[in-house]
Amino acid sequence: MWVTVLQRTAILAASLIIASVVVFAVLAVLPGDPARVALGVNATEEAVVRLREQFGLDRPLVVQYADWAGGLLRGDLGTSYVSKSPVGPQVADRLQVTGILVLASMLVALVVALPAGVVMAVRHRRLSGLLLSAVSQVGVAVPAFLAGILLITVFAVRLRWLPANGWTPPAADPVMFLEQLTLPALSLGLVQGAVLTRYVRSAILDVLHEDYLRTARAKGLTAGRALVRHGLRNAAVPVVTVLGLQLATLLIGAVVVERVFVVPGLGSLLLDGVADRDLLVVRDVVMVLVVAVLLVNFLVDLLYVAIDPRLRRAR
């Protein structure tokens, strides 16, 4: 078990280093001069030189990379070329907002997918199972931002039950916070729920044919109890893997949904950074998202081993 953990940690560390080099290379080398990009084509040569000196952009690229990567390790994300304010606190604030949105969406996805997936598997030859299957197939085809627009049309424009957009921190006004969180979390969560449903269904279908389930039935357990006692834990292994991968998808999906609902999360910061040509902010936010995705995958790998004891020795 510990060998596996060490192996995975080494892979994570290597991945983080390579990913940071890629992000740095794409956003610091390819566009040419970040100072020129930040100031725009009409800037004077002196202004560009001054900005370059101010932010150390005239130093060799290796030094700039080491400076940036070292800062990341210390939690210092540098100072924005455009607003001249530190990026770290901004990213921390925005990460909190995106984190809340992603977790709420994950909750919605689970609440939808677990019961629906089990019903679809247990009744997969019946009309109800086939109908649910068809609904989930349509759900998979709807992008989250489209779901968001449709939800706004129905619940904000027509029914006027919920606000169309905006964000209030939970401490400031808990009721408003929940009202504003509902539609973005639903639009991200329902779509992911449709995807997850299909995995839950096939995981349950797989265990339904297993001998141990038949044995449990033979011992006198009802079909439902046999499934809950023996089936769900076995079905959990593939589902947890998908859940982890989906957490990463949700994080990226949040970038778009935040734009739809004007939520001040990481996605908005990233898109504003691109619009303001603030390449450091873009680089930092991209790196934070990449780190989050890699970290989630790493944790899923570990959880995978924890859930299924058979994998501990196999690896």
């Binding site: 892979i11 030859r125 992008p143 931002f145 489209l146 998808t249 734009r259 739809v260 950074g273």
Partner: protein, 285 residues
Amino acid sequence: MTAALAPAVARGWRRRRNPSLVVGAVLVALVVLTALVSFVWTPHDPTFVEASVRLRGPGSGYWLGTDKFGHDVVSQLMVGARTTLFVGVVAVSVAAVLGVPLGLLAGMAPRWTGELVMRLLDLLLAFPALLLAIMLGAAFGASTLTAMVAIGIATVPSFARITRSGTLQVMSTDYALAARAAGRRPSAVAVRHALPNVASLVIVQASVSFAIAILSEAALSFLGFGTPPPTPSWGRMLQESQELLFVAPRLALFPGIAIALAVLGFNLLGDGLRDRFDPRLEDQR
């Protein structure tokens, strides 16, 4: 009576007709046909700005009405189908052209080389299409090209993975062993024996990836990182509709339906092809 018959009928229909394949193929054909027709005919000029007919409702010479610029929605949807298919074809081609040879290589090469290739490709999973496209857009300026390349590169790992697992299976068969024993080089065995065997897997993956490419393109155009105006695109039609949700929600509905139907079509086609190529799986889904 009917309750008892329903499962048997459903099973028979699934066995013989493969409804996923039929519905998927019809939807995909519809999108392709619409795109092809748009080359020779659209009801109106899709990019012509006509202020006097802004925000017309359906009917009155405009089947689905007009948008805030006076563009005909039907014509925009038709040309949008072209944009969607173009992005999908290029992105999936990029992914297949890079992913399939890498997968073959990883499947035939010595174990550690294969592992290394796959580990490096795993790293790409940390850069989802959307993030990659935004990053490339920030570096080079957003365009259809950066979107297609980003979606393609982000899809490489899935093609490589599926090709590798197929190749590993073929390489462990007796006929592959016989070919090796007869003195054929590994690369020759891969091309002669592994490639034809993984072709069906790759085709299924291409269909599913196409659906993902359509979703990504729509999201990118919605964010302003995809197809730039004036070229019509379903994602940008949605973006432009958002400010008018209170006035004309139909403007969001039509491109939304177009995206969902196209994605549904390619997903179902992929599922159907998978059942067709591997009938053993049919009972499980």
